[in-house]
């Protein structure tokens, strides 16, 4: 870990994070900030999903559960127990990660399509739980009073703080993806992704590695969920556990190049920008899922390695710099 900062990729990530943090500060551009906040959120979700999808080779449709559950725990602690934002976020992350570890040991016995299906089951189960759990407001959800922003210096100031935390969470996701990829743990995950039986025979503790990565991939999305729903001051089951957001995170991973750090981040950025454009343009409103479906088809057919796969093959030298 100590030698890490010497690698150029570490500085590329740092540069990207700084650029994100500073861009809207110049000229106090609030609409740019809101757009970048969503980019940072998508990059966080896609990068963490990539740990499962791109490294370990497991298709997780349920990645959004981490986001939604993190949101619920954070909003609930803030609302019912008058906690402040920071500890609520940390507790949300730790709880969701812990739950994922327990779940992971169970459902990661399944492989391929069976695992993918079971992750959809997890979404349904958690959503049903949230809809029927009275302390979480059942299906009508939880509303936060405007006063929650007061400790953060009022709504205008709070939104900036939330933005900076979100950028920090995005940065942490990128560093995490990179650190795992260049570690022994990451090598074991990649081996699992290529051929799980062969990996086990080579000595990779497959069950433990899969459960741990599933749990790790839950932590930062849970914090991002906490931030996102704290910012909205409102959470309800249908928003928190929206399967389409899970699907979009998968598309983003494949668009950018699963298993790469750079590709997934750029993919998330481009996809979210495109989605923002489609949502606001009057012709394409509510059209973004059609676009993501079409994109997915095109990528699978023509660019199975995604954006980074294409860049690597065109410019092989980039492989040494961009992970």
């Amino acid at each position: 870990m100590l030698s890490m900062p010497r690698r150029p990729f570490f500085w590329i990530i740092t540069l990207a994070v700084v650029a994100f943090a500073l861009a809207p500060v110049y000229g106090n551009d609030v609409s740019l900030r809101e757009s970048l906040l969503l980019d940072a959120l998508y990059i966080t979700l896609a990068s963490n999903l990539n740990l499962m999808l791109g490294y370990a080779g497991y298709v997780n449709f349920g990645s959004i559960v981490f986001f939604g559950l993190g949101g619920y725990i954070c909003v609930w602690l803030v609302n019912s127990y008058k906690w402040t934002l920071a500890p609520s976020l940390v507790v949300a992350g730790v709880c969701v990660s812990g739950l994922a570890l327990i779940f992971g040991f169970g459902i990661l016995r399944l492989r391929g399509a069976f695992f993918a299906l079971s992750t959809i089951g997890v979404i349904e189960a958690v959503q049903a739980f949230a809809e029927n759990f009275t302390p979480w407001g059942g299906s009508s959800g939880i509303y936060l009073p405007a006063s929650i922003f007061t400790p953060l210096g009022g709504p205008a100031h709070a939104l900036w703080i939330i933005y900076f935390i979100m950028v920090g969470v995005m940065g942490a996701s990128l560093y995490l993806s990179y650190a795992i990829k260049t570690s022994k743990f990451g090598l074991g995950l990649l081996a699992i992704g290529q051929n799980e039986d062969a990996a086990a025979i080579l000595g990779v503790p497959t069950s433990r590695y899969k459960a741990v990565v599933y749990s790790v991939s839950a932590f930062l999305p849970a914090i991002a969920g906490g931030l996102y729903f704290f910012k909205s001051a409102f959470i309800q089951p249908s928003d928190a556990f929206d399967l389409s957001l899970s699907t979009e995170a998968l598309v983003v991973g494949m668009l950018g190049g699963q298993g790469t750090v750079t590709g997934v981040a750029i993919g998330a950025f481009l996809y979210e920008e495109l989605r923002g454009y489609l949502l606001t343009s009057s012709t394409f409103a509510n059209f973004q899922l059609v676009v993501s479906g079409a994109l997915l088809l095109l990528i699978v057919l023509f660019f199975p390695g995604g954006l980074m796969g294409w860049i690597y093959s065109r410019f092989p030298r980039t492989q040494k710099v961009l992970e």
Binding site: T182, K184, L187, A198, A200, L202, V204
Partner: protein
């Protein structure tokens, strides 16, 4: 010589098929033990029992003094037992070097990443894949993939190496090369248990041979003894050419 691996009355049944029945044998320290037998004799199943892919229904397997009966494959690998597969199992989208690094990282010495790379490079040099170290495994020829299997198992620096038909599908030049590599590995003090159909190779490489038929041990002894064994000749009579070959090569040892 002490026994490194002991298989004691192991049995395994798949539905109606008794794949391995009441099998007892041992692999001694620093020897090459050949395992032969007709197709379906239970040789690969035996490998799978030893390295934990299946647990035996009954019986006991001891490796380096420790009971490994039914232990998970990754634990068996860590205890110093590596194997190759009859049907090659490369990690296709990883380089040759990364494939071997996995072997070294999670093998007997449980090496950290940078030291595992060194071990991997050494193993790659032993099998002569140095020039293809950065090639993706999927781009290797079948002979290359066989060598990769061997290098990857070797990178784990095992005490016992189990080779499942590493010579099958190779041309005569490649076979000679691989025989040289196997000898070299043995000289490094690695004990080898190998399944092979190629009689010329198994007869010249093995110190001892165990013959399996219908999951049971038919004979055991030096290559010459085994080749003279009436029951072994009988077992191969379904294929008289092979029996003749067996006897022919036995006399030359």
């Amino acid at each position: 010589m002490t026994a490194l691996l002991k298989v004691d009355r192991a049995s395994k049944r798949f539905g109606g098929l008794q794949a391995v029945k009441d099998l007892t044998f041992e692999v001694r320290d620093a020897e090459i033990l050949g395992l032969i037998g007709p197709n379906g004799a239970g040789k690969s199943t035996l490998f799978n029992l030893v390295n934990g892919v299946f647990a035996p229904d009954t019986g006991k397997i001891t490796f380096a003094g420790a009971d490994i009966t039914g232990a998970k494959p990754y634990l068996v690998a860590r205890s110093g037992l590596a194997r190759t597969h009859q049907i090659v199992q490369p990690l296709t989208n990883m380089t040759v070097l990364d494939n071997c690094t996995v072997g070294a990282c999670f093998g007997r010495e449980n090496l950290p990443l940078h030291r595992a790379r060194e071990a991997a490079r050494e193993a790659i040099a032993v099998v002569g894949l140095d020039d293809r170290a950065n090639m993706l495994a999927l781009h290797l020829t079948i002979a290359g993939k066989k060598r990769l299997e061997l290098a990857r198992a070797l990178a784990a620096r095992p005490r016992l190496l189990m080779l499942d038909e590493v010579l099958a599908g190779l041309n005569p030049t490649e076979v000679d090369y691989m025989i040289g590599v196997i000898r070299q590995i043995r000289e490094r003090g690695v004990t080898i248990l190998m399944i092979e159909h190629l009689m010329r190779a198994i007869m010249s490489l093995s110190d001892r041979i165990v013959v399996l038929n219908f999951g049971q041990k038919l004979a055991e002894g030096t290559p010459a003894e085994v080749a003279q064994h009436p029951q072994v000749i009988e077992a191969y009579l379904g294929n008289p050419k092979l029996a003749a070959e067996l006897q022919g090569s036995g006399e030359h040892v």
